[in-house]
């Protein structure tokens, strides 16, 4: 908006911070207006300002801010447009969050087909980052359930994109980090459930070999799987952790007292971290204690949990990102192809434990073969193991992530752009090589003046 001051925005990791102008349209018409104001659709002044849509800002690094340009907050464009209760086909605006989908559709017996670690992401962001959940081995990523969407392009046109119509733009937008345009409406298929509960069991593993063996042994029979790793464990215990296997509880799985209300919603109760905690609170001792405790408590038990505590334990603490203090943190998530997984994970965990840099959260999942079928997409998941680590921002962090990048590259892996704050143009290109060149041709076609830019796309020279 003319005359408005710029604002400092960052992702969930609160690093880095970016100066940007913000607008928050509340209707389709004001969205078009916002895009026009930025010069996006003005043929003579095209490129006069960068433009980028932002959902709830839950990507970790700098993916959801237009540096010095116009960041369009999409959160008020969050309306459900149509729902078919026979097929689960849902048409909605991109600002709707997974939380709103669950709130509205769990009581009707439907669930989001893919949920990430937080329910506070928008559908637009979910498509742009092609998010995954604990069910990738079975269902693939979010885009597998997206049937089509309507994209507002730099030319100011709204085009329908699907696997049939404008298929190249469809795939370039999936995992495209918002750089092909702004999604104004999307259509996806929900999954039917009998209850809002998850039956899960946890199995502990004393080292990485054992943990990976557990994945092989159990994963196929379960809808959801994820492992928590104690990343400070060394030597023979390297990679010790707990594998959590879960399935949507059927009516027959529920104890009597839950059977009468199987589709209950979890009431929204949040505690918030009200201020920035001193980052020293999360040091190797507290984290090591946390990890050991977790490791000790979760022994092979079978239980029923409500969907909220199973999928989104961290959402119960609002602003948990403030636990890392003012400087912020990064989340490092990489995926390594199956053949090299064990070697790479060993090297990465070794690097962490040698440095004494435990991660408060160290999460291991496995991506299956239902990856994005297009070779023009920047979608993150490839088959293999994916490891997620948190690190508070401090002096030698970049040096350390460079080292991790080298390890990842040497094993043919890649880093998740929705979390990234540290890659360089070179490391990015090596990781996404062939697909990036193909993607780029479509970007040039749909956005020739490179109007849609983010701080991330500037940093990685994605244009």
């Amino acid at each position: 908006m003319a005359g408005q001051d710029s604002t400092s925005l960052s992702g969930w990791g609160r690093y880095p911070s970016v100066d940007t102008f913000i607008d928050r349209p509340e209707s389709r018409a004001s969205l078009l207006q916002a895009v026009q104001n930025s010069g996006g659709t003005n043929s003579s002044g095209a490129g006069s300002g960068d433009l980028l849509a932002r959902g709830k800002g839950r990507s970790y690094g700098d993916a959801a801010e237009a540096a010095c340009g116009q960041t369009v907050l999409m959160e008020k464009l969050n309306r459900f447009m149509a729902f078919d209760s026979e097929t689960g086909l849902l048409r909605l605006e991109p600002g709707v969050t997974i939380a709103e989908i669950l709130q509205t559709f769990i009581p009707k017996g439907w669930f989001s087909p893919v949920v990430p670690g937080t329910k506070f992401v928008t559908v637009g962001g979910a498509i742009a980052a092609d998010i995954h959940g604990k069910n990738h081995h079975r269902d693939g990523s979010f885009s597998n359930f997206v049937t089509r969407f309507w994209l507002l392009t730099a030319a100011g046109e709204i085009i329908e994109c699907s696997r049939i119509q404008n298929a190249d733009i469809f795939w370039a937008t999936i995992g495209g980090m918002g750089l092909t345009g702004i999604i104004v409406e999307a259509e996806l298929t929900l999954s039917p459930i009998e209850s809002s509960y998850i039956s899960y069991k946890s199995i502990r593993a004393d080292n990485l070999t054992e943990l990976m063996g557990l994945f092989d042994q159990h994963e196929e029979r379960h809808h959801y799987s994820v492992a928590w790793i104690d990343c400070l464990a060394q030597k023979n215990s390297l990679g010790r952790g707990v594998l959590l296997l879960g399935d949507h509880a059927k009516l027959t799985d529920l104890p009597e007292q839950l059977k009468n209300h199987p589709l209950t919603l979890k009431p929204d109760k949040q505690v918030t971290v009200p201020f920035d905690m001193p980052s020293s609170l999360l040091n190797r001792y507290t984290m090591s204690t946390f990890n050991s405790l977790f490791y000790a408590v979760k022994t092979n038990q079978e239980k029923i949990a409500d969907y909220d505590s199973y999928f989104f334990p961290l959402d119960a603490i609002g602003s948990w990102n403030r636990m890392y203090g003012k400087a912020g943190f990064i989340q490092y998530q990489c995926v390594i192809p199956p053949a090299a997984s064990k070697q790479a994970l060993t090297e990465i965990l070794n690097a962490c434990s040698q440095k004494g840099w435990g991660s408060f959260l160290a999460v291991l999942k496995r991506f299956g073969s239902k990856t994005c079928p297009s070779n023009t997409s920047l979608s993150f998941p490839i088959a293999g193991y994916t490891l997620t680590l948190d690190f508070p921002v401090k002096a030698s962090l970049i040096e350390f992530t460079r080292k991790l990048d080298e390890l990842v590259i040497s094993h043919g892996g890649r880093v998740y752009l929705a979390k990234d704050a540290c890659l360089t143009p070179e490391t990015f290109r090596t990781m996404y090589n062939a697909n990036f060149e193909n993607w780029r041709q479509i970007k040039h076609k749909i956005d020739p003046d490179n109007v849609f830019r983010s701080a991330l796309s500037q940093r990685l020279e994605i244009n």
């Binding site: 908006m1 408005q4 509340e26 209707s27 309306r79 459900f80 447009m81 509205t104």
Partner: protein, 247 residues
Amino acid sequence: MNNKTVLILGATSGIAKATAQALAAKGYGLHLAGRDKSELEILSQDLSIRSGAKVSYSLFDVHNVDSHQQFFKDVLAQCGTIYGALVAVGELGDQILAQNDPTHAKRIIDANFTGVVSLLTPIANYLEEQRQGFIVGISSVAGDRGRQSNYLYGSSKAGLSAFLSGLRNRLAKSNVQVLTVKPGFVNTKMTFGKQGMFLVAEPEDIAKGIVAAIEKRQNVIYLPWFWFWIMKIIRSIPEPIFIRMKM
């Protein structure tokens, strides 16, 4: 479902949208009214998907005073009966522009006061006859005392507050609740990106307060509650001091 329909005037405003959602969740049916047809259509679909409520909509323009009687007749024809009405029509306008351009000043007054009075006239008469129901008017803390930064908006809201007060006095014997809502700063498109905002509340919180006040059949509420005390202090500042303050 309680088979009671609430008419929401100015349905695309932030407070109206949130309140419509809160009312729908309580089982009320809704009739949305506003200027933007495509938005009204999207909103009514969204509300009915979220809550299963029966939602219809129609168009009106607050400035087109001559059409208001007919507008309300059409609403009644469409809905059968109306149990309550929420008026969230309003325009902040541009104070500086209004000081130099009487047309803009009139526009602000019409959007917040004259037009609202015109809209509420047939509605009040109808509810008086029904001998039940409610009228909720969204006024503003800005109407409690004129300040140099927004006294055109403020004075039109002051007018609205006085109108609602009189209406409440008249309709009390007919068992019709008239609720005056005085929100402070709310995070809506009216305030987004504006300077000088503080203690900004979310529209969902305002909506919760409105629905609770309807249920408790209250008369006047400040939302959030602390604005009652803030405005009490601001009103109590003696004029000789007040005129030298920058507010």
